[in-house]
């Protein structure tokens, strides 16, 4: 079963970090990915640039509308994602609890929905 672990934190917390704290966090994330890869639980994952770099688009009446920033202002911002292969939700919770930013913000776990077969 696949779960998407969406990593959220307040970017203000990150901005307030010293350079060393930030580098340490990044190294910790690299080790986390290595560990998850080693156990076969890591499918793919990426860190994201801050939310100020986000662009939102939507298509209405065939027209593509572009706007700056995320769709909704939220207290915490999406900072990255992990696609995990886990036995079940408890397993996914156990894996995601090792993602370093879980200490700073929150991880949202979403089960992957398989699309129906092509008809």
């Amino acid at each position: 079963m696949k779960y998407l672990a969406l990593v959220y934190y307040q970017e203000s917390i990150i901005n307030a970090m010293s350079e060393k704290e930030w580098q340490d966090l990044n190294q910790e994330c690299i080790r986390c990915v290595e560990k998850l890869s080693g156990t076969g639980n890591f499918i793919i994952g990426q860190a994201l640039h801050p939310v100020e770099t986000a662009t939102t688009l939507r298509v209405r009446n065939g027209e593509t509308l572009i706007s700056d920033g995320p769709f909704a202002e939220t207290k915490e911002q999406l900072a990255g994602f992990y696609l995990l292969d886990a036995r079940d939700l408890n397993d996914a919770i156990a894996l995601a609890s090792n993602i370093p930013p879980a200490r700073l913000g929150s991880i949202e776990l979403r089960p992957i929905r398989e699309l129906p077969p092509k008809t």
Binding site: M1, R87, D88, L89, N90, D91, I93, L109, P111, R113
Partner: protein
């Protein structure tokens, strides 16, 4: 723990079950359903991997038993019979249902496995296209196999799997409560709604959503491992206590105690203690039994709430007090005293005083000190203030209430204002007391509570 008997009779999975007599009276049937349907359901959920399918299969199995047992005699192990029958009914249903065939092949490997191992030679024909049409001896041998499979331990484990799944932290608290009442206690959606003072459609939606999350997010049907157990058990206990509290002080309505839900909470807790003996489980059971023992004395004939001071202690249920005290002792002997055990100790001290004047407020205040260290809850702080006011006088109580009020969290909690009113009354500050009673009255919708507050108010106003 052995000295305490299961008062509901053969509800526990670990007990010997006498086979029911061939012809059962309606009472015996409802008892059989009451005692065994949750065990059958819990095991069917594991075997079928789906709540709704298992529920339907369980009902089918009982219906089949109703038809068959009066003529052919009841089986030696009714639970095993019901599980096997339910399992075959479910497979039968799935075979007839086109969508079900995909389900059997994709989602229920455990189901396939269990049937294959039961009857190896039949598995090809069994799952070829068309309705499952098993010969009678096949069914019989499967029942026997299920008999062996259904050892006491696996029945108990399935019960625990069910309660830990219903109380999974991935479900919202109100969904945990509704699922536990529905699946563990066997209440209908209407009964759950009545107990929780909600619309049946609200409860039905909550249950549908919870089941969908269990399925789609794949919440596993398992008992948590040792490292997660304390945290997960705390959630289960919270749900049981919520169930009990909901019953004890339904937020409106005429009866102070909703007997159905409080009995369910105690029954479920007793069941949990049998499955998973633990000091916190025993502590919660002691607390509920000791509080529940006073329910007959909490209201007078016209439905007015009575305080501990006014209650006729002869009306307290001595058997429940006895049982609650035994569980409290067991809990204190078996581990560090947790949140519920300490509260049970407070309740026990109340029951030990033969008159209100004999209440040991020194010890009770001490217990509240410990409770407050454990949980910084403003409600606990309020209870401590009431106990301390009994020990040191209402002035001291008022000082504490001022501190508690500062946070503002209890502004709308009628008992804070009722306590304040009582302290003023005892100090002879009549107009302050009247104002506080009026404030408390505005904040409660519960009839017995209102009558009590109105009575106090009338006394003060008539005293000139």
């Amino acid at each position: 723990m052995k000295e305490i008997k299961d008062r509901d009779g053969g509800e526990l999975g670990t007990e010997e079950h006498a086979p029911p007599s061939p012809t059962l009276s309606p009472d015996e049937w409802s008892r059989l359903y009451r005692d065994h349907s949750r065990q059958v359901l819990a095991t069917l959920i594991r075997l079928l991997g789906d709540f709704d399918l298992a529920e339907e299969a369980m009902h089918e199995a009982f219906a089949q038993a109703l038809r068959q047992w009066p003529n052919e005699g009841a089986p030696g192990n009714p639970i095993a019979w019901l599980v096997s029958t339910g399992r075959f009914k479910a497979i039968d249903q799935l075979r007839k249902d086109k969508r079900g065939r995909d389900y059997v092949s994709q989602l229920a490997p455990a189901l396939l496995e269990s049937v294959k191992s039961t009857h190896d030679t039949e598995d090809d024909t069994c799952f070829s296209d068309g309705a499952l049409d098993y010969p009678r001896d096949y069914a019989v041998s499967a029942y026997e196999a299920a008999d062996a499979e259904l050892e006491e331990q696996s029945i108990a484990d399935d019960q625990l799997r069910l309660i830990f799944t219903c109380c999974h932290p991935g479900l919202a608290e109100d969904a945990q409560l509704a699922m536990t009442l529905r699946e563990m206690c066997g209440l209908t959606t209407e009964q759950v709604a009545r107990g929780l003072l909600q619309q049946p459609t609200t409860i039905a939606q909550r249950i549908v959503r919870a089941k969908r999350k269990i399925r789609d997010a794949r919440i596993p049907y398992e008992v948590p491992g040792a490292s997660e157990l304390p945290q997960r058990l705390a959630i289960v206990l919270k749900v049981i206590y919520l169930m009990y509290n909901e019953a004890y002080s339904s937020s409106s309505g005429d009866a102070v105690v909703n007997g159905d839900l409080s009995a369910e909470a105690i029954r479920l807790c007793r069941h949990l203690q049998a499955l998973l003996p633990h000091p916190d489980v025993a502590g919660l059971m002691a607390l509920m039994l000791l509080q529940d023992a006073r329910k007959g004395a909490r209201q007078n004939a016209d439905g007015t709430l009575l305080t501990l001071e006014q209650q006729d202690r002869a009306l307290w249920d001595k058997a429940q007090i006895e049982e609650g005290t035994q569980w409290l002792d067991w809990s204190l002997r078996s581990g560090p005293a947790g949140f519920y055990t300490l509260q049970a100790a407070v309740a026990a001290l109340h029951t030990q005083a033969s008159r209100y004047q004999d209440t040991d407020w020194v010890q009770i205040t001490g217990l509240y000190d410990l409770l407050l260290q454990m949980s910084a809850s403003p409600v606990i702080a309020l209870n401590r203030a009431v106990a301390l006011a009994m020990r040191d006088g209402p002035e001291a109580g008022l000082e504490l209430l001022d501190e508690i009020s500062e946070s503002g969290q209890l502004d709308n909690y009628h008992l804070l204002h009722a306590a304040r009113a009582d302290f003023y009354r005892r100090l002879g500050r009549k107009s302050d007391a009247i104002a506080a009673y009026r404030q408390a009255l505005l904040l409660t919708s519960q009839t017995p509570e209102k009558r009590f507050l109105q009575g106090r108010l009338a006394e003060l106003q008539s005293a000139g």
